[in-house]
């Protein structure tokens, strides 16, 4: 197996909003040993249709196969490869920091300001931060905060993406 162009790639899927569709998609990834880095799903303006944003780390050939295999599923209405498309993509992430000293708290407020995060809850020795930014930036934040603080708890939502308007219209 060669690994030409091993990297993270994004797919957006339109699927039928039915019982079992999520398990068919995720089962396809596990059954065929495709990497599934993140997957988000929610209904669209049409309640019979859901849209998924999927991130996968794969090489060129595997990625082609993933798209074809997804297309083969009866419940998949459309597969959009985000590779060469201008997209808006964000991920929500909560970070709870415990056992904070006073100076930790000061630093956390600085981090929040730098990354345009919100401090959304506050305790005697803890803080809760909300980040809405790209997954890559969230990765960096997690790395930084793990180094800086003794006890952190992270919950990430997975990215959601949509094709941007301005670039398409230009």
């Amino acid at each position: 197996m060669n690994h030409n162009g091993m990297k993270k790639r994004w797919i957006s899927l339109y699927v039928e909003n039915q019982v079992g569709v999520l398990s068919k998609i995720s089962g396809l990834f596990s059954g065929k040993s495709y990497n599934l880095d993140s997957l988000t799903v929610g209904t669209t303006e049409d309640p019979t249709v859901s849209r998924m944003t999927i991130a996968t780390v794969s090489d060129d050939e595997t990625f082609e196969q993933i798209k074809k295999q997804l297309n083969r599923l009866v419940e998949v209405i459309k597969v959009i490869d985000f590779t060469d498309v201008f997209v808006r993509m964000k991920e929500i992430m909560y970070v709870k920091v415990r056992r904070c000293s006073a100076s930790d708290k000061t630093e956390l407020f600085q981090i929040a300001e730098t990354f345009k995060a919100k401090v959304i809850d506050y305790g005697r020795d803890s803080l809760l931060l909300e980040f809405v930014q790209t997954a890559t930036k969230n990765d960096a934040v997690v790395k930084l905060m793990k180094e800086e603080f003794k006890s952190i708890e992270v919950v990430r939502g997975g990215s959601v993406g949509i094709e941007s308007i301005s670039f398409m219209e230009r």
């Binding site: 039915q18 079992g20 398990s23 089962g27 196969q65 297309n71 083969r72 009866v74 209405i77």
Partner: protein, 573 residues
């Protein structure tokens, strides 16, 4: 508006889909459907003895008739017994619609009696699967199931029917049209790509057709034979592709792959254009990928986009139905000069002909040669193992002789139920199954079905007292350590093989046949082969078991060592 139960609508749907034969096994969750089937006469309901065999019967019925095979089983164990048969049909692209009973909706998820999540269990081995959760969707879902099963790349579809949904009254109409927004199979070939492929073919010095099961499934044998006649390009096939062109055609070389003929594997290795149609480039065909067709540009026509460039990177991909593509090609193709190339192939054929070493005692080839000689028309069904490879190497497959075999999944136990399904679909054509003694015992209970349905099938057993194909690997690659492959080993000889006398072989297939009401003949010598077939051929209603005593030392050659390349064949002759 008139309202009817789901059970009634289902039976109505079967009628409108033209289902003339249904393979069913009853249970608590489907008893109401059974009751509706009791009241109709358009479909013949076959009662096999095990759901495992039931699916194979529906599968062979579908493969041999081109219709959709229909199964009805109950929930829980009835449903789980479908698994192997669904996978078998999935890998060989066989259209099936399987209805499974399910517990009532309020019980789903409770670990109720005979409840399983069969749609979840079979997700990766069905083309489509769904639980009908609302009575109003029933008609549409059944209509879609038949459509999905038989269109595009055909495959098995599973519809799970909760008992209460089926009891509910609802719409009596069965829809006449299908519109699935996520399923629009593409069957029409792109002419530009086809012309590009033909241009490459015309320029080639050593062109070769590689044909898979897709050509047989698309029913494109005539068109393909015409394509070969015009172009003069030689042909190799996969086992599933065997019969796409008559095996006695002068441009047909044989099968390639693990047990393929030397000339075929050499031709693939030396060709400069490999024009492949309807094949998946399975590992048993390609051997080690990096040395597969190293000198060739590859053209690939397949109806399944995902089959293209999955295993082998191709230069010209064409997504299309094989028959549509070949028919369009006929307008543009020209004769190629392949004389020199054919001479080379002929040399390879003479260097290592595909045959078995001639022995004074009976060999599998003697039996298959006799079948070739005695039957002008036949459906030959195999099980899985050495005998299957012998059949794939030596059986003549012509427009009037068809081969049914579990090629992709390699399912032992397919032979006997396969013969039953084929015979039910083709009562006027002789049906011969060939199994090893291992595979035969995996679905031996179906003798009862064959006897009661009055099917004069000829079920051959190549009995070498062993699980021969695994034994062959043990002999060649595992220092003759025959672990788990001797079918008469047991407590009396465990750990003392060779020191004590072998326990007697069981069962006695002849007595077993008789106990079921079938006929059995044991054949030990060459001279007995023909008379045995003569007797069996004359049978009008009674199935025959012909048990051939085969030497376990008869191995399948040539052979590529697992993980080897097409160029490293182990030869016997």
């Amino acid at each position: 508006m008139r309202k009817i139960s789901g059970n009634k609508l289902l039976v109505k749907a079967l009628k409108e889909e033209g289902v003339d034969t249904l393979f069913g096994y009853p249970g608590a969750c489907t008893i109401d459907i059974s009751d509706e089937l009791y009241k109709q006469d358009f479909t013949r309901v076959i009662l096999p003895r095990q759901e495992v065999a039931l699916v194979h019967e529906a599968d062979a019925y579908a493969r041999s008739t081109g219709k959709v095979g229909v199964c009805l089983v109950t929930s829980g164990p009835g449903a789980t017994n479908l698994v192997t048969g669904l996978a078998t049909a999935y890998y060989d692209s066989v259209p099936l619609v399987c209805f499974t009973g399910q517990v009532a909706r309020h019980l789903i998820g409770n670990d109720a009696f005979q409840e399983v999540d069969i749609v979840g269990i079979t997700r990766s081995i069905t083309k489509y699967g769904v639980t009908v959760r609302d009575r109003k969707d029933l008609g549409r879902i059944v209509k879609e199931a038949f459509y999905i099963a038989r269109t595009g790349r055909p495959g098995p579809v599973l519809i799970d029917l909760p008992k209460d949904v089926m009891a509910e009254l609802g719409d009596a109409e069965y829809p006449s049209e299908v519109n699935i927004r996520g399923y629009k199979p593409n069957t029409i070939a792109h002419v530009g790509q086809l012309k590009r492929a033909i241009k490459m073919l015309n320029k080639a010095k050593r062109p070769l057709f590689l044909i898979g099961g897709g050509v047989n499934i698309a029913n494109a044998r005539e068109e393909f034979t015409e394509l070969v006649r015009i172009t003069n390009v030689p042909v190799v096939t996969t086992i599933m592709g065997r019969g796409a062109i008559s095996t006695d055609h002068p441009l047909y070389i044989g099968n390639l792959g693990m047990h393929g003929a030397y000339a075929c594997n050499m031709a693939v290795s030396e060709c400069d254009i490999l024009f492949s149609i309807g094949t998946r480039f399975n590992d048993r065909i390609t051997g080690k990928l990096h040395s597969f067709a190293p000198k060739a540009k590859i053209i690939h026509i397949d109806i399944d986009t995902a089959a293209i460039s999955k295993n082998v990177q191709v230069d010209v991909p064409i997504v299309a139905d094989a028959r549509d593509a070949i028919t369009r090609m006929l307008e543009y193709v020209e004769p190629c000069n392949t004389e020199k190339w054919m001479n080379q192939i002929q040399e390879w054929k003479e260097e290592h002909p595909l045959t078995m070493r001639e022995k004074p005692v009976m060999t599998p080839k003697h039996v298959i040669d006799t079948i070739n000689r005695m039957f002008d028309e036949a459906i030959i069904v195999t099980d899985v193992g050495q005998h299957q490879m012998f059949v794939s190497q030596f059986a003549e497959i012509t427009p009037k002789k068809k081969l049914l075999t579990s090629g992709g999944l390699g399912t032992m136990g397919y032979g006997l139920p396969g013969a039953i399904g084929a015979k039910l679909g083709n009562p006027d054509i002789p049906v011969i199954s060939i199994s090893g003694d291992g595979g035969m015992q995996m679905n031996i209970q179906e003798l009862a079905t064959a006897v009661l349905e009055e099917l004069p099938i000829i079920s051959c057993i190549f009995n070498n007292n062993n699980l021969g194909m695994v034994r062959q690997w043990q002999k060649l690659f595992y220092g003759k350590r025959y672990s788990m492959t001797c079918l008469h080993s047991g407590a009396a000889c465990r750990g003392r093989c060779g020191e004590v006398e072998c326990p007697p072989y069981t069962p006695d297939f002849i007595k077993l046949a008789e106990s079921y009401g079938a006929k059995g003949i044991r054949i030990t010598k060459k001279e007995e082969i023909e008379p045995a077939f003569q007797e069996a051929m004359a049978s009008e209603k009674t199935p025959y078991i012909l048990e051939f005593e085969i030497d376990p030392e008869d191995l399948v050659y040539p052979m590529i060592e697992p993980g080897g390349t097409l160029q490293d064949l182990i030869m016997d002759c």
